[in-house]
Symmetry: C2
Subunit: 99 residues, 2 copies
Amino acid sequence: MFAALADTSRRSMVERLSRGPASVKELAAPLPMSLPGVLQHLQVLETSGLVRSQKVGRVRTFQLEPVALQAAEQWIADRRAGWAHRLDRLGDFLSEEEI
Amino acid sequence: MFAALADTSRRSMVERLSRGPASVKELAAPLPMSLPGVLQHLQVLETSGLVRSQKVGRVRTFQLEPVALQAAEQWIADRRAGWAHRLDRLGDFLSEEEI
């Protein structure tokens, strides 16, 4: 998931999809990139689980998968929480030392 | 930052550092990797801003940089919030339609 988010073009696709589902064409429009390039990035995003797609007729529409985004967010939050907790304990220890 | 987190070894280093600062040796111990390999990963993490290091005598100690972790977390949270907001509006719209 982090590998999928490590690319600027893919982050801009996620950014676009956070405002609602979009077709391949809509996702490709703002990007200075060939359609095959766009499709490759979308495949990486879909394999990572961050987006999913649905084909209706000839149009494939992509949308965010919030559960996967939440998992990535949670991983970072947990690491940060461990660190914050440790700093709190250090703070407690230092206050006790002062007394 | 996401590129830095896209590697399993680097994530395990961040995991370790979330429990407190550690020396290069301590970070290398659980990893099946040469010291130069570990140093290279630590350099990627430091360049990304996710960790910082300090050298005292001959020992370099690494620690997490919670502000950078928070920035990565916030980016994901914002994308997810946009999507959630959109789903809420869709929910509102559908409820109104029902009435």
